[in-house]
């Protein structure tokens, strides 16, 4: 069967969703590396969760298997737990130094 360009450009394939989620993940990763504000760094991890979630649902739809969406529920659970704990830690750190700068805590790193 020959390629029909007209229908090709109106349909959405698995590759579209995977590339979307790859780009979103990479943007989140770059944001995590570049931002110095602790809260924005955690927002960037949420961005990466978001990307993984779209990929899960897309693969689940491709296989017509609902486990992909079930895993999204678990991702939401982990994201909520992570947000609660991480933000509690950020509040704690902010109380100590009065700033959200991640570089204030760089003595914690090795070397």
């Amino acid at each position: 069967m020959t390629f029909q360009l007209a229908s090709e450009f109106t349909q959405v394939s698995l590759a579209h969703f995977i590339i979307f989620s790859a780009l979103l993940f990479v943007v989140g990763l770059v944001g995590f590396f570049t931002r110095r504000n602790l809260i924005v760094m955690f927002l960037c991890t949420e961005l990466m969760f978001q990307a993984a979630l779209v990929a899960f649902v897309a693969f689940g739809r491709y296989w017509f298997n609902y486990s992909g969406q079930v895993f999204v529920i678990f991702i939401l659970t982990v994201a909520a737990a992570e947000a609660a704990l991480a933000l509690a830690l950020v509040v704690l750190l902010h109380r100590r130094r009065g700033s959200l700068n991640a570089d204030d805590w760089k003595e914690l790193r090795e070397g």
């Binding site: 069967m1 229908s7 090709e8 109106t10 349909q11 959405v12 394939s13 590759a15 579209h16 969703f17 995977i18 590339i19 979307f20 790859a22 780009l23 979103l24 993940f25 990479v26 943007v27 990763l29 770059v30 944001g31 590396f33 570049t34 931002r35 110095r36 504000n37 809260i39 924005v40 955690f42 927002l43 949420e46 961005l47 978001q50 779209v54 649902v57 689940g60 739809r61 491709y62 296989w63 609902y66 969406q69 079930v70 999204v72 529920i73 678990f74 659970t77 982990v78 994201a79 909520a80 737990a81 947000a83 609660a84 933000l87 509690a88 830690l89 950020v90 902010h94 959200l100 700068n101």
Partner: protein
């Protein structure tokens, strides 16, 4: 140049799917065909350069150039994917996909380039909303709305609260009162290079290696999944059949595969099994088939009951952890307790109400 390929491995899922009988499986173009193999990498490099320009603290012109370059890269990637596409999900609306995808990615970029954390959080709401739109295109209605409720409704509010708590009040919009750590990106060049490597790998693997995926599920298999779940819900199944034919002799006949719900070109049907009579065929209303929410709920409690329990425990522990972490070291009332049992108070001169202010 060697192509990146997905390892075939043992296709656990594919074994259950069988071979496709309907529809054609579009093949990727012949080598040296319409798209060169280097295209995904070049697109990633221009995208990374655009991101670098946007992250760098610079003049307006570099921001404008970065924005235009980034948008151009997105368009180019869409063309690459469209011309090397294999693996249909379903005839969808590409216009909607591109709209939601472009909104999500551009607001994600704005999130990581914006100097004010509150605006970053608001841009994240935009990312969540457009991802929910993408999930709607994937026929995952339950997850789309759960995403909006949980992410935009709950998690983002937590972020906003912490931001408001931690951020120094600043009324003016001048960038000069932004703290320096919000204005300057840390090592944008190195971060963009790491991102470039990851994006190049993922994008080229997806565009070049997608053809090695087993074919998608055909319509007959999708019908079967719906029918199997309907059989698991006996009350609903019986009601759906009896709604069409009230005198139907229950239970219906079982076909060769052991399924009661059978399919042909005009939809689902069941057959009666009364010996000595011609089987009566009752067509079930396709709207009686289980919805997405019921499928997800069934998969959740039937396939992953233990994980569901563990998820509940994780949430409970996270709640405890957050309470333990965020409270003051010495609670309000500790001194009174100590006084009442005859011990010396820890803070004898401190006002006992002062302890609860910040928590």
């Amino acid at each position: 140049m060697t192509r990146l390929q997905f390892k075939p491995g043992k296709p656990i899922l594919a074994a259950r799917l069988g071979t496709p009988t309907e529809g054609t499986w579009p093949q990727w173009g012949t080598p040296g065909g319409r798209m060169d193999h280097l295209d995904p990498y070049i697109a990633c490099i221009t995208g990374a350069f655009a991101l670098y320009l946007l992250l760098r603290q610079g003049r307006l012109t570099s921001k404008v150039i970065g924005t235009l370059l980034g948008l151009g890269t997105l368009v180019w990637l869409v063309v690459i994917v469209n011309t090397t596409v294999v693996g249909e999900i379903q005839p969808g609306q590409q216009v909607l996909f591109l709209l939601f995808g472009a909104i999500a990615i551009s607001s994600a970029v704005r999130l990581i380039t914006h100097g004010r954390p509150v605006y970053s959080a608001l841009y994240f709401v935009l990312v969540v909303l457009s991802s929910a739109g993408l999930l709607l295109l994937l026929e995952a209605e339950f997850m789309a709305f759960a995403l909006i409720i949980v992410y935009a409704g709950a998690i983002l509010i937590t972020y906003m609260f912490v931001l408001m708590l931690a951020q120094q009040a600043s009324d003016s919009d001048h960038s000069s009162d932004m703290p320096i750590y919000d204005k300057l990106a840390r090592e944008p060049g190195a971060a963009v290079i790491v991102g470039l490597i990851l994006a190049g790998t993922l994008v080229s693997a997806t565009t070049l290696g997608m053809q090695d995926l087993p074919p998608p599920v055909v319509q007959s298999r999708q019908d079967k999944v719906h029918g199997e779940l309907l059989e698991q819900l006996p009350k609903r199944f019986k009601a759906a059949v009896l709604a069409v034919s009230p005198d139907f002799p229950w239970p219906p006949a079982v076909d060769d595969d052991g399924h009661m719900v059978q399919w042909d070109r005009s939809g689902p049907f069941v057959e009666s099994r009364v010996t000595g009579e011609a089987p009566e065929i009752v067509r079930i209303d396709p709207d009686a088939m289980p919805t997405n929410t019921q499928h997800v709920g069934w998969a959740l409690v039937a396939s992953f009951p233990a994980s569901l329990e563990i998820a509940g425990v994780i949430l409970l522990l996270a709640m405890f952890g957050a309470v333990v972490l965020a409270r003051r070291q010495i609670e309000h009332g500790e001194d009174e307790l100590r006084r009442s049992v005859g011990l010396d108070p820890i803070h004898p001169q401190e006002d006992p109400v002062a302890g609860e202010g910040a928590s």
